[in-house]
């Protein structure tokens, strides 16, 4: 090993000294999150304020961590909670167990459940870790509600809805980014798709 080798070794270190810094002072400073980060869930609503969740339990059925508890109920005829016969009466997700795999989002037939970009919570009790329907439901502006133990920054409540976040229903890539139906509270209306094949003729 020659004398110059160690100098050569430091060359990389010194060279990096003048590059742009990649370390951030978290939590004082946060990095931009990627668009499809899997954070905690929200339950979306239609533009008229009705809940999208129909209490079908498909998300609960598909969840590999068994952390969703849903119970449906008959929609009250005079004051329906969601369109159709049934609504999600109980909806809970246990964040001590959720692995943020997003299978629930894929299973949901109404795009009621989607994930926000938020994963920074510091709850101190099991009760807080189990998010109830009241906590998961988006507010009247269509944005996720901020809970006391959550660290939200500006803009992090953007792009949490199905409208923005739909993946590929039925595993058919030609659906990517296209949402089957309309009316997302806070995001406006979209034309429904026609037909079922997803081909050009639709």
């Amino acid at each position: 090993m020659g004398l110059l080798d160690s100098v050569r070794g430091f060359g990389l270190t010194f060279g990096k000294l003048f590059d742009e810094r990649v370390t951030t002072e978290y939590p004082a400073e946060k990095r931009e999150k990627s668009e499809r980060l899997h954070g905690r869930h929200v339950l979306n609503r239609y533009e008229d304020g009705m809940e999208k969740c129909i209490g079908c339990e498909l998300c609960a059925g598909v969840c590999p961590a068994n952390c969703i508890y849903v119970r449906g109920q008959d929609n009250p005829a005079d004051d329906p909670v969601s369109p159709g016969e049934r609504f999600g009466f109980v909806y809970e997700i246990n964040y001590l167990r959720c692995i943020h795999c997003d299978l629930c989002v894929e299973a949901c037939p109404t795009e009621a459940i989607t994930e926000s970009k938020l994963f920074e919570f510091s709850f101190t009790s099991r009760d807080d870790a189990i998010y109830t329907k009241d906590e998961l439901l988006v507010g009247d502006d269509g944005k996720p509600q901020q809970l006391p133990w959550e660290d939200w920054r500006d803009g992090e409540d953007q792009h949490t809805s199905a409208w923005m976040r739909a993946t590929a229903p039925s595993g058919d890539a030609s659906y990517e980014g296209r949402v089957a139906w309309a009316g997302e509270l806070g995001y406006g209306t979209r034309d429904p798709e026609v037909g079922q094949s997803g081909g050009d003729g639709d």
């Binding site: 129909i54 209490g55 079908c56 339990e57 498909l58 609960a60 059925g61 119970r71 449906g72 109920q73 008959d74 159709g84 016969e85 049934r86 037939p109 109404t110 026609v194 037909g195 079922q196 094949s197």
Partner: protein, 841 residues
Amino acid sequence: MTAPTDADVVPVTVNGVEVEANAGELLIDACERNGVYIPRFCHHPRMKPVGMCRMCLVEVDAGRGASLQPSCMLPCTPGMIVDTESDLTKKAQDGVLEFLLINHPLDCPVCDKGGECPLQDQTMAYGPGESRFVEEKRHYEKPIPISDTVYLDRERCILCDRCTRFASEVAGDPLIHFQDRGSQTQVNTFPDEPFASYFSGNTVQICPVGALTAKPYRFKARPWDLEEVDSTFPNPMGDRVNVQSSRDRVLRIQGVDSDATNWGWLTDRDRFSFEALSHDQRLVTPLVRGDSLGNATDDGDELVATSWAVAVERAASAITASLEAGGAESIGVIGGANLTTEAQYVWAKLAKGVIGTDNVDAQLGDGLPAQVVTALPRNTISDAMAPGSAVVLLVDDPKEQFGTLFLRLRHAAVEGDITIVELSPIASGLGSLVTVGAHARPGDVGAVARAIVDGRTDVEVGGVEPAELQAAAAALAARAVTVIVGRPSVAEQAGPIIDAIAAFTELESVSFLPLLRRGNISGALDMGLTPGMLPGRTTLAEGGEWYRAAWGTVPADSGLDTAGMLEAAVDGSLTTLVLLGADPLADFPDADLASRGLAACRTVIAVDIFASSSVANADVVLPAAGFAEGAGTHTNLEGRLSPLMQKVNPPGTARADWLIAAELAWALRADLGIESPESAWAEIERLAPSHAGATVEQVRAAHDGLVIPRPDDAGADRPAMVSFSAPVPTEIVPVDGYALRLVADRRLYDQGTIVQHCASMAHQSDLARISMHPLDAAALGVRDGDLVRVTSARASIELPARPDRCVPRGRAVIPLNRAGADVRALIDLATVVTDVRVATL
């Protein structure tokens, strides 16, 4: 069943493999039996084929070239060549599904059937990936209630004809039909006439889509969060069921097809009875008398919650005090007919082997003596209804009380060559399906049976004309006769019924099916929860030595029945009474005696699942586990043992009945030596003469249960079982020309504890009404709906009247346990029959 002979076997080639079909077997069934499943919607093994859905099309060459044929309509013929996987078959299946989905909505996520739906499953397995139809589907109003418990969503219906066939073919309630034509065809009820069938829940179970759903299960769970176990429903038939729960709550009960018993059917009362299990009025903690502050420390007026230790100790000290003051005879046990057979044994051992009292009775004056019931030669349901046999009905209306037996009887009457002779005082729901309706006047049924058996049919006997007597004798002649016997009316004492039994025992080929009320009554009588008997159908006299050796002690003399116990309580000689799920105030035919008896007892200990009226007046209340909350064995009317499985935990600190007996014994400083239902069963199998050779493993393993006594002679060294001896015939009460003879029967929906704690059933219990023949009504000047006063020697009650042509002349029918009027006030247990006078108000 007889072994198949060569002529019965039909060789058929299925997908290139030669298989053996039975002669006359449908191709779809033969294929399934040989491991080749053909998709289907309309085909149901318990109903006639209709070929409605075309899903079962397969390519069949029966000698004239291959063509598509519906395999559910095609009996196997020799040499048939079948291809269930050919391209043509697949195209047909694909096409049928695409057609069905033209109009079937895609609301699987909100459909109760989603996840267990044959249409979903078969579309996945055999259907097109995509539909070519983009047109609007047909629309109907979303679910409409067609009965109190069933919703119909016509959009989802695929017109398979299962529900409508069930209603007309199986249940005999043709209240739903196809209406309209073409693409507008729909299932519906007649206008303003609901699908009011006692069996409507079965249509929900067999509907292959979510068109029919049940209100009690609506949106309660989805199939993937249900856990299930096969069990037995604790009714006298021992219907096989599948119990399904989610999050420790029973949410659904489905029928399981058992050849021996219910064929997969259930009555609505049983199917939806699970609602009561999770009712918030269930007893969840022991209660004792205490003060209004909730202190269990003194003998106050309130029932207050306490610990098991305190409650069991209070019960034990009450028993000890009675033992010391009045001996074992001052203690009595009423009830126990709804426990598991194991728990019944443990309670019998506690009462007779530890406390030493024979005052034990599982029946509340509305049954037949165990010495009679357990002595009769029994038959199985299937043999009783085999072609060429005859059935005598001397029971409550099976349609009202024993629904699945009614369905079996109905099927046998329609399809099989059997004759049915009805001796019960009024016509049953079988209606015109009975061969002879020889409706004996209450009190005279013994004489009527005697006349039929002896062939003395030339004069009228007991209200039955000679023509009917002759027809009845002819219907029974040269056939194997099964007498289904119970207590059709509590206004008629057991005496005349026993006389009828005695007469029938003289027939050449006769056997019996004792059909008494209360779930596990057969088990209770077998386990000696009745005066004078010991477990295993043996008497105190016969089996006393044997059980004394095993238990240490048994009572020397025969004890009191329920009526006797209540009278002893009134005169002060019985001071402690244990109620095992019994509610004498509501259930004993003499309500006045029941209330005086309970009030006179120093201590009433109640073991129950609900605070019934009797429980509310008890001194110590021990909460028990209900159906599906504990394991054990059930005994049905044939003596068939089948397993009861635990699915959920009992609410609160409620405990299994056998455990309560064991704890009570412990508090009495005795060890029953029983640690589990299995150990109780091992003891039953070791000791009971009738249960020799029926091990718990055998019972659990047998899909159709195990009938006791076993044919082998494993019990040869045990005491003899009781044998039937005819008692002195009961005197016939002369007819009072001015009075009507009372029949007090039971209906499916009444004020019973379980029905009243089920939201979907409670309101279906009508008000009490008195029905009589229209001519009797006219003679009295009574019109439909008139309020009348009904007077017996004892009391009088007022209730509305209804003329009814099904009631024979000279009789009046008032159902028991209905709101409005209590018919029990009229009944005097000391008289064989009750005559009433009816007057308009």
